[in-house]
Amino acid sequence: MTDFSGRVLFLDRSDINTDEIIPARYLTEITKEALKPHLLEDLNLDGFNPERDIQGTSVIITRSNFGCGSSREHAPWALEVNGIDLVIAESFARIFRQNMYNCGMMAVELEKEAINRLFAEFSEKETAISTDLAANRFKVSADGETAEFSFSISDFDRALIEAGGWVEYADAHY
């Protein structure tokens, strides 16, 4: 199990779709690793440069309805091979959210106020998150400043993370 912690990439837009996360032209790849250089290549967001901004990050913080559109699990895979295993947003599209937990990764919803505060206080700084999964708590830190946020995930999502994903869970139960 990963630690769901590390440097943060802020994406300040709602409705980022899975075509933007990984364009369809790369869906002919049959290994996850081949997706690595193409993460967020078509993202429509001013000031964002995937080649410069993704390297070294482990967590994405974004707005609402992240991962809408195509069902492609290539989107979580493209995040995973880039070392990103946690996305924090106001809300997620259903299939993307399920795909994340099915892969043993995390998609965590926070209230709009919390997301607004994260953007307002941290998005301009070099920010890191450390996740305490047992205590349901994120510790956010930048320039010596820290803030704590509690979160909740469902028992089912937690069971999937602990099992290592849905295939392992389903195989043990059904």
Binding site: N44, S64, S71, F156, D171
Partner: protein
């Protein structure tokens, strides 16, 4: 307390409640195509679990890039083909018999009211047109579906959308669903099921219903469900005539999947069809919609008619009605992809293919290719396409391209004029 359609289907397929409001359901069908299935197949092989829960309940097709355009897509097709043979999957559709999954599988009679269906494709919601619970899933859900015949879903909270009144001339199912998405937004039905009802919906053909349910996911919905009625039974009759004594008997059986009168809805939204007009999208979200009248004059480089949204016979007829006896603009590349071999054959028989060719359209084989910028009509940077597909995302039909979603009639009129144009101009 009464139940919605999806709640009744969940009850009838319940396997387990692992936690909270999560239900694990038994699946009546698992649909597969060559883009999202090969990774699941390879993973099953790697785990030493290369099995399928029931070969008769798995339906597979090569549709996204066909014929293969390069070695990578050829390999994806080969992995699916070899797997289908290895497991004796009777319903596998390859070159010559293949078509866009969400048009082909209903045409083959693989969908029934009350079914539970998953596929590694977000537009699986299309099959809700038959009163089924059909949902797009990722590759891991698909893999478990193939192996175990189950999938986990959250309790299906439902929104009811009623369409009342009469559709004005030149307004089609596509305009109705674009208007609905424009109103409720791309996040308006996330994690919810939509039930579509009202006189306009009841009068629609199965093809028109599928256009609407197809785009339910563009509002975030898990599935867009229509109530099974005489139209549903008539469409399915060639496939179910051995199961029922009469169409009335089939209807009676399927009506167990109508909602209870006291079913609980999260919201009920009513649209007056009389106030709708032909619509087109602008920008990069399906909720960015405007009346075609306000977009009129926008030049386009390509017009595409096809896809799981609008590649069925009724769509081709509507476009041909506009194109008949006319030529498309020299500045436009017109491409039409009949969604299935059955649609293609029907269009040939009705003289529709000739109308398209006489007008200057290129007629391709059935495939999804252009809709997601994979083949058969990819845009160059800066190019604009009026398209009958379902997504206008940035880069969707090619990096740097712009897509305006429209109905087949509007697409045809736009091809003639070379710029976005209302079909009523050419349609009497």
């Amino acid at each position: 307390m009464g139940k919605t359609v999806a709640e009744k289907i969940f009850d009838a397929h319940f396997v387990d409640n692992p936690a909270g409001d999560i239900c694990v359901l038994r699946l009546d069908a698992v649909f597969c195509h060559e883009i999202t299935t090969p990774v699941a197949i390879n993973d099953l092989v790697r785990r030493g679990k290369d099995r399928v829960y029931d070969p008769a309940k798995i339906k597979a097709v090569i549709d996204h890039v066909t014929p293969a355009k390069d070695s990578k897509t050829a390999l994806q097709g080969k992995i699916l083909r070899d797997w289908a043979r290895r497991h004796d999957i009777p319903d596998f559709f390859d070159i010559g018999r293949n078509g866009v999954c969400h048009a082909l599988f209903p045409e083959k009679g693989f969908v029934r009211p009350g079914y539970t269906i998953i596929m590694g494709d977000s537009h699986t919601c299309t099959h809700g047109a038959f009163g089924a619970f059909a949902a797009g899933v990722g590759t891991t859900d698909l893999e478990v579906g193939i192996l175990k015949g189950v999938c986990a879903f959250k309790h299906p909270d439902t929104i009811k959308i009623k369409v009342t009144g009469d559709l004005p001339a030149g307004v089609y199912a596509k305009d109705v669903i674009l208007s609905i998405i424009g109103k409720i937004g791309v996040n308006g039905a996330t994690n919810r099921v939509i039930e579509f009802t009202g006189p306009v919906i009841e009068n629609m053909s199965m093809e028109a219903r599928m256009t609407i349910s197809n785009m339910a996911v563009e509002a975030g919905a898990t599935c867009g469900i229509f109530y099974p009625d005489r139209t549903t039974v008539a469409y399915l009759w060639p496939h179910i005539r051995d199961e029922f004594l009469s169409e009335d008997a089939a209807l009676e059986a399927y009506q167990q999947y109508l909602p209870d009168s006291d079913a609980v809805y999260e919201d009920t939204i009513t649209f007056d069809a009389a106030r709708l007009s032909p619509m087109a999208t602008y920008g990069y979200k399906p909720e960015n919609v405007k009346p075609v009248a306000e977009m009129a004059g926008t030049p386009v480089d390509q017009v595409y008619i096809g896809s799981c949204t609008n590649g069925r016979i009724e769509d081709l007829r509507a476009a041909a009605e506009v194109l008949k006896g006319r030529r498309i603009s020299d500045s436009v590349r017109g491409i039409v992809s009949p969604a299935t071999p059955g649609v293609y054959q029907q269009a040939l028989d009705e003289g529709i293919i000739k109308i398209f060719m006489d007008a200057g359209f290129c007629v391709t084989n059935p495939t999804c290719g252009a809709c997601l910028g994979m083949s058969n009509g990819v845009l160059a940077e800066g190019e604009v396409c009026a398209s009958t597909t379902n997504r206008n995302f940035s880069g969707r039909m090619g990096k740097g391209g712009m897509v305006h979603l429209v109905s087949p009639a509007t697409a045809a009129a736009t091809a003639i004029a070379g710029k976005i144009t209302n079909s009523t101009l050419y349609n009497g």
